[in-house]
Amino acid sequence: MSTIGYESWAVDLADVSAIYPFQGWEMPMTIIGVIFWLAWHRIQFVREGQHLEEARKMGEKEKIDKMLERY
């Protein structure tokens, strides 16, 4: 048994098309990929909100002035 559908390369390559593992599972793999992408946005969205909320309370006036001067 081979995950790519070929156990040897004793074939005519003219007859070969897809050679990736788990052929037939493209749709579930796509769903997993899309979940990964959307989860990334969700995690990033929440974390950035928390970070900005914390950051707005962090600044000391003297240091902020210096940052503004620094350009």
Binding site: T3, E7, W9, V11, D12, L13, Y20, F36
Partner: protein, 454 residues
């Protein structure tokens, strides 16, 4: 070159490898920028020089014996094999093939492609040890990893006749193990003996971050490494070859690109997978490092490295997910090792290259289980046990052990680490003062000349 087709194929192949070599030069430029950006201002020139001199030292030694090792060692002593003097003969420095020769237009560019991998292996080690290793010690390690140990592993596991491919079904198309795991393992062996930079750990053992002096240099450096890595991917392929020329089990007359084992793949496949694994690595690293810029950039690299073993065959979504999984493991392992063993891996090279390469090999054993490792008959199929053993051979046997032993010998001889006073004042102290003195002298001379005229 008998006929037009033969001539075209030969010249195309020659030009193809030449282009990859030029692209791969960017890896070294990137490593230099990354190291200098990560080091503190008082160590810049030494850090740069340490990495630059890897180029000539590994080049000449790879010409003298490294390339011969690749062709002579695929069987070696394991399983009754021996050194293949016949195959090695054409690749000795005094062979006609290793020179200007109109009857062999490929050896030079193929040698150069492998040589650029050698620089990379040495440069990976160089990054871990910045700001406290003696250049003389590092350059010995560079020659050993670049022209001896990595090329032994290439002969064993990255050659169409390598014993690891035949017996273990070892599969490592874009060098998760043969470049990255071995170099990361080697770096780990060296830094275990070398010790951390002054100030890296607080008295209670808590690790301190030593921030990069120039974040922009790091950023551009790693982007150049990405670019060069893309060229590296192309360099790992044979661009166009007929079944007849392969001489294996493939039937028919359809030409194909192949991986280093002469098994079919395509440039298109690896382009998909390079970009998707880069993306998976970047996304996972951003999340796991909570948006740390440098871990995110390095995570892109670690993602590609994790997926590289099987990126000739993976589906792009598999490459993305595998890259993401690898990055999460690598990131956590890096900090666990740092805290537990008090190791100072200055640029995270052991993690990004070593752990990622190791993990990538293990994962590929499951995902590619049962796939043929070679177009030749009688070879073991790709399998989890073979890939795990391969990872151990790359990381520990050919990487960690030699690095540790040689560093130990250097340490015992007192030639591994710079003196503490020099580490504190900076490696560039003497050069910096000479520069300032020269500057002052020439300004004085110019002023005197001006005064004499008026």
């Amino acid at each position: 070159m008998d006929g037009n087709l033969d001539a075209l194929t030969t010249v195309f192949t020659e030009f193809y490898y030449w282009v990859t070599v030029v692209f791969m030069f960017l890896i070294h430029v990137g490593f230099c920028m990354y190291e200098v950006g990560a080091s503190r201002a008082r160590n810049h020139m030494h850090t740069l020089m340490k990495n630059i001199m890897i180029i000539p030292l590994v080049t000449v030694t790879f010409f003298f014996f490294g390339w011969w090792i690749y062709w002579a060692f695929p069987d070696f002593w394991v399983f009754g094999g021996s050194i293949d003097f016949e195959a090695g003969a054409a690749n000795l420095p005094w062979s006609e093939n290793m020179a200007t020769n109109l009857d062999d237009r490929i050896t030079g560019v193929f040698w150069a492609a492998f040589l650029l991998f050698s620089w990379t292996a040495a440069s990976i080690v160089s990054g871990s040890v910045i700001e406290r290793i003696r250049s003389s010690a590092l350059w010995v390690h560079a020659v050993l990893i670049g022209s001896v140990f990595w090329i032994i592993d290439a002969a064993w596991g990255w050659h169409y006749g390598g014993w690891m491919v035949q017996k273990l079904g070892y599969h490592d198309a874009y060098a998760s193990g043969v470049i990255h795991a071995i170099a990361g393992g080697y770096a780990l062996g060296v830094i275990m003996v070398l010790g951390p930079r002054i100030g890296k750990f607080a008295k209670d053992g808590t690790p301190r971050d030593i921030p990069p002096h120039n974040p922009w240099m790091l950023t551009i450096g790693i982007f150049l490494i990405y670019t060069g890595f893309w060229g590296f991917y192309a360099a790992c392929n044979v661009p166009a070859i007929s079944p007849e020329a392969i001489g294996g089990q493939i039937t028919g007359t359809t030409w194909t690109a192949t991986n280093i084992y002469l098994a079919p793949t395509s440039l298109s496949a690896i382009t998909f997978n390079f970009l998707m694994s880069l993306s998976g690595g970047l996304m996972a690293a951003y999340v796991v490092s909570k948006g740390d810029a440098f871990w995110t950039f390095s995570g892109g690299l670690a993602g590609v490295i994790t997926a590289s073993a099987g990126n000739d065959l993976y589906h792009p979504i598999q490459a993305m997910i595998i890259a993401a999984i690898g990055v999460v493991i690598v990131y956590n392992l890096h900090y666990w090792v740092e805290r537990k063993f008090k190791l100072d891996d200055a640029v995270g090279a052991v993690a990004v290259h070593g752990y990622a390469g190791f993990v990538g090999l293990v994962i590929s054993g499951f995902v590619l289980w049962g796939a043929p490792s070679s177009p030749y008959e009688g070879y073991a199929a790709i399998n989890p046990v073979g890939q795990f053993l391969g990872a151990v051979i790359m990381f520990f046997v050919l990487g960690f052990l030699p690095g540790f032993i040689v560093a130990k010998l250097q340490s015992m001889a007192g030639v591994l680490r710079i003196p503490e006073e020099v580490e504190l004042q900076g490696l560039d102290y003497a050069e910096h003062h000479a520069y300032e003195d020269a500057k002052a002298a020439i300004i004085e001379a110019d002023k005197a000349a001006l005064a004499a005229k008026s």
